[in-house]
Structures are given as structure tokens and as C-alpha cells.
């Protein structure tokens, strides 16, 4: 099959772009640090004792603000794109996105409960207060996905079509529950809710980062091992079964990885749309549908796109910030359209 780009050159190109985005994400920000200072501060962070004027400030900005933010962007972008591939493979439908099994709407419901309910309860203990939103979003996503999966199962078989419809129904249900909380919310909580729904990498800290990084690395190592099985599933469920693939086990793994990955990403950075739906498409348009290429390439592409989007988010209106959800679609959609139209000729 002819593709636009050979897998080898795709990986080289994506890795280069990804490295570039990491470098820019560390080097650029509203505080303008001279390139030389950034380098020296980076060396200091690595433990090389360098003395100099203003280096402490540079080290702080690099180590406490930009580095956790960059890592968060990489993890969120990568895991969202990967979950997108998993869902599109599972439903054998390029229109599938991680929201389809209810993980996003469940997380939104969890977040709404935490934001509106948390404000109503007031004085929460110190150790849970700051993390309530993340924990609720994560549990909400996982809970609704588990329910969707359970509804799709009959006689030990998972019916993907039933699961899809159950996902739509539960998404609608969760949506109306979020609407109810929106109605109950006061002005301030309403704004928090709105901003959360647009996502942001702002205020990334290591404490919030570790759980997501572990999940992302886990999912990113696990899913590519199922590339051949996913390729077989493209032919159809019974065909894959005849090829000796444990289709039921595969479905379970895909749903679990998506719930875990998207749940953790959303808990750390809020809702960020577009990446999960379109990044797998982008990669497929460039390099074809082979999951052995698609899975790892989507991780790179998702991470890169999110970092570039974040650069725009933090620089466009500096010293204020744009929610990143606005930027991902704004940057990605025209590019996607361009590829789509080009592919026709």
C-alpha cells in the first residue's frame, strides 16, 4: 500500500518535531530568558554548579514552571492520541474518539460534582482539598466507562454496537447532570467549570504530574504490543478470532487503557478536545493504517501538537493565558482539512 511518507522518515520527522517542541516549550514563555541563561540554568538543574547573575530566577522558572508544564503536555498529548487510536481500532470507525465510551463525560460529571459540591461543602481537610477535582474527574471517567463496558456485555461477549449506543446514552445522561450542576452553580464556580472544560496546562506541579506520567508510560508501553491484534481486528471481529486473537481480551484491554489514560490526562489538565480524534487521523493520512506505525507515531504527534498548542496558549495573550482547548482545535483543524483536501488529488 502506498503511503505519503515511509514509516522510517515519519518517525525521524516526528521525533525531530517533538524535540523542537520540547526545546521551544522550555525556552519560550512570557518571561524572556536569554538563550545562554536557559542553557546554564538547565545545566544547573542537572547538578552542574554554575554561578551567575539571575541564574536562580532562571533555574526556578525552568525547573518549577516550564519543565513540569512541558512534561505534563507531553504526557497528556501522548496519552490522548494513543487512546484515540485504541478507540478507533476498537470501534473500527475513524469517527470514534475517547469520549465515545463515556470517559470524558464521566470525568466532566466528576469535575462538576467536585467544583460545585466542593464549594458547597466548604472546609475540606488539607490533604484532599487541592486534589478533590482531579480525583473526582478520574473516578467519574473510570466509573462511567466501566458502566458502558458492563452494559455492552452479554453472555460473556462484548457487543461493540451496544457499547457504542450505551456510551451515547450515558454521555447524554452525564451531560444533563452536568447541566443541572451548572444551573446550581454560582458565578464563580460557573467560571471554574467553564475553564476546566477548556483545559489548561497552567499551574503544573510535580505532585500532580507523577500519577499521569506513570499511567502514560504504562499505556504507551502496553498498547503497541497489541498492534498486530489491532491490525487483525481491522478485518472484522470473527476474522480476528479465526486468526487466533483473543478478541474479548483485546476489547477489555483497549477500554481499560483508554479509561485509565484519558481519566488521568483529564484529571491533570482538564478537558482537552480534538487531540484524541484527529491525531490518529493525521498519522493515518501520512503513513497508512498499520497499527505498528500508527500507535507509536500517534504518541509523538499528539505530544508535539499539544506542546505547540500550549506555546500559543501561553504566549498569545501574555501575561494572561488562553485555555489550551481553544488552541488545539484552532491549530489542528485547518491542518487536518489541508491534509484531507490534499489527499483527494
Amino acid at each position: 500500500m502506498k503511503t505519503l511518507v515511509k514509516p522510517r522518515s515519519l518517525f525521524i520527522g516526528l521525533s525531530a518535531l517533538c524535540l523542537l517542541s520540547i526545546w521551544l516549550s522550555l525556552a519560550l514563555g512570557p518571561v524572556s530568558l536569554p538563550l545562554f541563561d536557559t542553557l546554564r540554568a538547565a545545566l544547573r538543574l542537572l547538578g552542574v554548579p554554575i554561578q551567575g547573575d539571575g541564574l536562580e530566577q532562571a533555574e526556578l522558572i525552568l525547573g518549577q514552571i516550564r519543565l513540569p508544564r512541558t512534561l505534563l503536555g507531553l504526557a497528556v498529548g501522548g496519552v490522548l492520541a494513543l487512546s484515540g487510536v485504541a478507540m478507533q481500532g476498537l470501534f473500527r470507525n475513524p469517527l470514534a474518539d475517547p469520549g465515545l465510551v463515556g470517559v470524558s463525560s464521566g470525568a466532566a460529571l466528576g469535575a462538576a460534582i467536585a467544583i460545585v459540591g466542593g464549594a458547597a461543602f466548604g472546609g475540606l481537610p488539607e490533604f484532599i482539598g487541592p486534589y478533590l477535582l482531579s480525583v473526582c474527574a478520574f473516578l467519574g471517567g473510570l466509573g462511567v466507562t466501566a458502566l458502558v463496558y458492563r452494559l455492552g456485555r452479554r453472555n460473556g461477549q462484548t457487543n461493540v454496537a451496544v457499547m457504542l449506543l450505551a456510551g451515547i446514552a450515558l454521555t447524554a445522561l452525564a451531560g444533563s447532570a452536568v447541566g443541572l450542576f451548572t444551573y446550581l452553580a454560582d458565578d464563580a464556580t460557573l467560571r471554574t467549570l467553564t475553564f476546566w472544560n477548556l483545559g489548561s496546562l497552567n499551574g503544573a506541579s510535580y505532585a500532580r504530574l507523577w500519577p499521569l506520567l506513570i499511567v502514560t508510560v504504562g499505556v504507551a508501553l502496553w498498547l503497541p504490543r497489541r498492534a498486530n491484534a489491532l491490525n487483525a481486528l481491522l478485518l472484522g471481529e470473527s476474522e480476528a478470532n479465526h486468526l487466533g486473537i483473543d478478541v474479548e481480551g483485546l476489547k477489555r484491554e483497549l477500554v481499560f487503557c483508554t479509561a485509565l489514560g484519558v481519566g488521568a490526562a483529564v484529571a491533570a489538565a482538564g478537558m482537552i478536545g480534538f487531540i484524541g480524534l484527529v491525531v490518529p487521523h493525521l498519522v493515518r493520512l501520512l503513513a497508512g493504517p498499520d497499527h505498528r506505525v500508527l500507535l507509536p507515531a500517534s504518541v509523538l504527534a499528539g505530544a508535539t501538537l499539544l506542546l505547540f498548542a500550549d506555546l500559543v496558549a501561553r504566549l498569545a495573550l501574555a501575561p494572561a493565558e488562553l485555555p489550551i482547548g481553544i488552541v488545539t482545535a484552532f491549530l489542528g483543524a485547518p491542518f487536518f482539512l489541508f491534509l484531507l483536501l490534499r489527499g483527494r488529488h
Partner: protein
């Protein structure tokens, strides 16, 4: 109760200020709170502000300063790029991890109460006075503010002695469309009550209204706060978008008044006494204003 609360704010204020007095007075300020920015200007330190948030709309000149975004959605690096000595804001300021990052970079983060009562305001002004190194003036400003409010309360009292409090509704809208009614537990409700009105709405918070319910309540006075239009244009847009309003008493008797929506955010601001006085004369047109 009232006294002890005041004492606590005073003590807290003193403690915080001693810490900040140890160093030099902050020269570059970022303010993330509408009323706070206004007070800083009233205390004559507008020139020290190097950045404000989106809720700081008064005085007009603040709009030319760099905007650090919405007070709950601040960005650490964005604020640090303004090289401030101090970031001031209400308890609503956030998100907390960003504040921690800003503190970590050696910028003082000073939190103020957003409560709409005089004790909180006294604490706020004292605290600001200390940060500005001019406690006397801050105390003077507070005194005169307190006097104005007390005078206004007299005005309301004497008006209410002869007249029943009018039933009022406050609509908060955007170019007239889909206005929300201000219910209990809102700054708007507090304002209406202070001005001597009786808020007919019984729900909590700002909620969209049902046309029928509005006609049923039939308020004597209607106050509207429009976020995008002002004056006659706002009034006309409101009537055009919601024709039912034409049929209530307030509209028939020409008692539809405007209120600046920025008064409804972030605690007691310096423009409040004048607006309260205005509202009271609107509520009790036959009673002459005091003074």
C-alpha cells in the same frame, strides 16, 4: 461579635504588615481583584500597578495596563514577566498551584477578604495602607467611607419611616438578552436591601427568570445591570428583547433604573456609597435626599 471580628482583622493586618515592613515597600504591584485595584487608585498608588486582572475595570485608565487574565485563572510565568514585588487579590484568586509558584519565585502574595462588610473593608484598607507605607491616609479614607455609609443608612431609615419598602427586582444581562434575576446570597441582593428596597426574588444566586413569574411578581422598581451596553441603549435593548417587561408596574411608571454591573464583583468598592445613595433616591422618589 462585630467588635471582636474587627479586632481580629486588625491584629491579622498588623501581623502581616510587620513581616512586609521588614523589607522595603513593594514598588511594582499586580492586582487581581476589581475592588482592590480601585482602592489602590483611591489611595493614590495607581502608578505602582504594573498589571491588573480582567475584573479591574475602574478607573478607566487601568484598562491600558497589561491584563493578567481572570483572577481565578492566573498564569505564574505571565505574572512573573511583569517583575512584580507583590501580587494582591481576594480569596477568590487562583489557582492555588500557580500562587505557590509565584510565592516560590519570591513575589509576595497578599490575600484580602472579598466579604461585603465594613470590618473586612477596614482590614483591607489597613493592609493596603501598610503595604503603601501610608497608614494614616488609609485610615482617613476608611473613616470617610464609613461616614458616608452611615449617613446613607440614616437616609434609608428616614425614608422607610414614612414609606413602605418598594418591591424590587434586579436583572443582570448582556445587551438586553436573557437576563438573570439576582436572588438571595448575592452582592446584588445586599445592595438592594442596603438601599432600602425589598428584593422580591426568593431563589438563591443569579437564575434565568420565567416570564410568567416576573409578571406575577410585578415589581414597583426594576434595576438592571447590563454588561455590554449602558444608559438608554441598554434600557431599550432590555425592553425590546423582553417585551413582557413593558407590562409591569415599574415600566409603566417609568421606574426602570440602571446599575453599573462592576459594582457587583469583589467586595465593597469606593464607588459604592454614591451608587447606594442614587438607588435610594430612586426607590423613594418623594423623600428628599439627606444633606
Amino acid at each position: 461579635m462585630r467588635l471582636s471580628l474587627r479586632l481580629i482583622t486588625l491584629c491579622a493586618g498588623l501581623m502581616i504588615t510587620h513581616a512586609s515592613l521588614a523589607g522595603e515597600l513593594p514598588q511594582r504591584w499586580v492586582s487581581a481583584g476589581g475592588a482592590l485595584s480601585e482602592w489602590v487608585s483611591v489611595l493614590g498608588a495607581e502608578s505602582k500597578l504594573v498589571g491588573v486582572d480582567t475584573t479591574s475595570q475602574h478607573p478607566e485608565s487601568l484598562k491600558s495596563l497589561p491584563s493578567v487574565g481572570y483572577q481565578r485563572q492566573l498564569s505564574a510565568e505571565g505574572i512573573l514577566s511583569l517583575k512584580p514585588d507583590v501580587l494582591i487579590g481576594t480569596e477568590e484568586m487562583g489557582p492555588p498551584p500557580v500562587l505557590a509558584q509565584i510565592r516560590g519565585a519570591g513575589v509576595a502574595v497578599e490575600m484580602f477578604s472579598a466579604q461585603a462588610d465594613l470590618a473586612s473593608l477596614e482590614g483591607t484598607l489597613q493592609h493596603l495602607g501598610l503595604l503603601l507605607g501610608d497608614e494614616e491616609q488609609a485610615a482617613k479614607v476608611f473613616k470617610s467611607y464609613q461616614q458616608q455609609l452611615e449617613q446613607h443608612q440614616q437616609q434609608v431609615k428616614s425614608a422607610q419611616a414614612g414609606h413602605k419598602a418598594p418591591g424590587v427586582l434586579l436583572l443582570l444581562g448582556h445587551a438586553g438578552g436573557k437576563p438573570l434575576i439576582a436572588g438571595k446570597d448575592t452582592a446584588a441582593d445586599w445592595l438592594l436591601t442596603q438601599a432600602g428596597g425589598h428584593n422580591l426574588a426568593t431563589h438563591k444566586g443569579y437564575k434565568p427568570f420565567s416570564v410568567e413569574a416576573l409578571a406575577g411578581l410585578n415589581p414597583e422598581v426594576l434595576v438592571f445591570a447590563d454588561r455590554s451596553l449602558t444608559g438608554e441603549a441598554a434600557r431599550q435593548a432590555l425592553m425590546k428583547e423582553n417585551p413582557i417587561l413593558m407590562s409591569i408596574r415599574a415600566a409603566k411608571n417609568g421606574r426602570v433604573y440602571e446599575l453599573d454591573p462592576t459594582l457587583l464583583v469583589g467586595g465593597l468598592g469606593p464607588r459604592l456609597p454614591a451608587s447606594l445613595k442614587q438607588l435610594t433616591t430612586e426607590f423613594y422618589p418623594t423623600v428628599p435626599a439627606s444633606q
